[in-house]
Amino acid sequence: MATNDSSTAAAAGPQSGLRAMRFSVRLESLLVLAVLVVALSILSPYFLSVSNFLNILLATAVIGILGFGATFVIAAAGIDLSLGSVLALSGVLGALSVNALDLPWPVAIVTCLAVGAFCGLINGLLNAKAGIPAFIVTLGMLGVARGLGLVFTNGQPVYGMPDPIVFLGQGRPFGVPMPVFVFIAVAIVAHFVLAYTRFGKYAQVIGDNETAARAMGIRVDRHRIALYMVSGTLAGVAGLLFLARVNAGDPTAGLNYELTAITAAILGGTNLFGGRASVLGTLIGALVMGVLQNGLNLLAVSSFYQQMAIGAVLVLAVWLDQVNRARGQR
């Protein structure tokens, strides 16, 4: 009895409807994660250790945060292909603000977030007000933001960040990398907003039935713009973490990350066509991607093949979802 939201809660009886809505973590994605972990534990002696586990979390932080952004936008039947480029642009401008302009370190944080939010605003306005399809708008932003980052830096990384920023990327309180703390905090807030607030609910309503959303008085255009600003801002957070971790604003950072982020969201059970979305699902999806990459690294598989693996997983995840849906609608 696999319905299209065969969630962990769906089997739990009459109360399943709402739980499915709030948690909708796809059983398959947990299964995939478990299989990967078991397989890699057998294949590599280095896989199963606390330090490698922390490595995976560290590597997953940036992808996961982008994935949360993707989740909000996809919930409303949108898409954001500019995540990786916006990550780079906000990192570059954040770096330049403290490096070239010599402003105090908190400015770097504010700049990263503001640049991300601004890119999201432009995406949202062009999509909701000018009526250009999200796919095209964000594809355009992918090019423009990437190009801007290269222009501002002449293509060279901007090295040297103030200590507090470096700590944000490289510090290890209690042995746990700082970005992991940020990742967990963002995950909690994002889950809460998507599942328990009107803002998150309406994102899914718009993706489910836009006509109904309008009929019930939801300001659809305004909401769309806000959603793109959320994904842009989260790309800014990811850009900040990236900048802090490598101690440089790198205009080539985050290349193709949107691919991984969207894959994580879809893998986690967020419906590519909107209406159903889960931050916890995306978290698991991102962990799958993180474990996969870590495993391929440990097994010394070339990064060329890793690209192929990510692309294949994306297609596979969407296909799985479609098969499930077809079975559910018998």
């Binding site: 009459p14 607030t197 009107r198 309503v205 006509t211 109904a212 019930m216």
Partner: protein, 246 residues
């Protein structure tokens, strides 16, 4: 004084004149049947009353005061509720979430307010019981039958104390037994002093429950008379155009 008065209301979509110079009034405690062929402008007319469309021309007065609405919530605030022809439901949401769509119950203070799922389930359950519907608040709409979906859409009109309930083909997709329930509900609303507008293509429904019938043809109102003074034959003629006006 009429509860709601429409004065020379028109609505055009580009070149399409969907509603053309319609005046009418709704009285409290009265059921008005609104009939007409496909595309006659019935839905467009009630959507203007419900705040979904703004009229191109004309004015609306509620209890004597000018009614200007920008969004559906404005209409609800004035006690105007509507059951949309397409029901306007979200498949991936629960019955309760659909009932409260656009006016969710929340707990908390200021900007930190979260959805109060427990209260919404409870209230939605009460409304379904009142409607004698077997719909369960926690079920997802995509798993529901046509009748249950209809019940969800109708339940929305009972969230707050309404003055006017507009029903756009509420009996189109449901069984005979459920039709009887909906008609009973309409009588119940009327007895409570509400004005009800029932859009339907089913002559028996209108003639069994309505006090008055309005017929529209190609955007214009061609008849507005007491049910007692009319007959199904006459209404059929008015709808098809065999009878020009009455």
């Amino acid at each position: 004084m009429a509860l709601l008065e429409l004065a020379s209301i028109s609505k055009h979509f580009g070149a399409i004149q969907a509603v053309n110079d319609v005046s009418l009034s709704l009285e409290a405690g009265e059921v008005t049947g609104l009939m007409g062929d496909n595309g006659a402008g019935k839905s467009t007319l009630v959507k203007m009353i419900a705040g979904n469309f703004r009229p191109s021309h004309g004015a609306m007065r509620l209890e004597g005061t000018e009614l200007v609405m920008h969004r559906p919530v404005d209409a609800r605030r004035h006690g105007i509720e509507i059951v949309h022809q397409d029901l306007a439901l979200c498949d991936n949401l629960t019955a309760a979430a659909n009932v409260f769509l656009g006016r969710e119950l929340r707990v908390g203070v200021g900007p930190f307010r979260i959805l109060d799922y427990a209260s919404m389930y409870k209230r939605a359950g009460q409304i379904f019981a009142e409607l004698k519907s077997e719909t369960r608040p926690r079920d997802l709409v995509k798993q529901m039958s046509g009748g249950q979906r209809q019940a969800v859409a109708i339940a929305r009109t009972m969230l707050s104390k309404a003055k006017i309930v507009l029903m756009d083909e509420p009996t189109a997709a449901i069984s005979v037994r459920q039709v009887a329930e909906v008609l009973n509900l309409i009588r119940h609303l009327r007895d409570q002093g509400l004005a009800v507008v029932l859009i339907s293509h089913r002559m028996p429904d209108v003639f069994s429950v309505a006090d008055r019938v309005i017929v529209m043809r190609r955007g214009r109102k061609v008849a507005d008379k007491k049910i007692a003074d009319s007959s199904p034959e006459e209404v059929t003629g008015l709808i098809t155009g065999a009878i020009e006006r009455a």
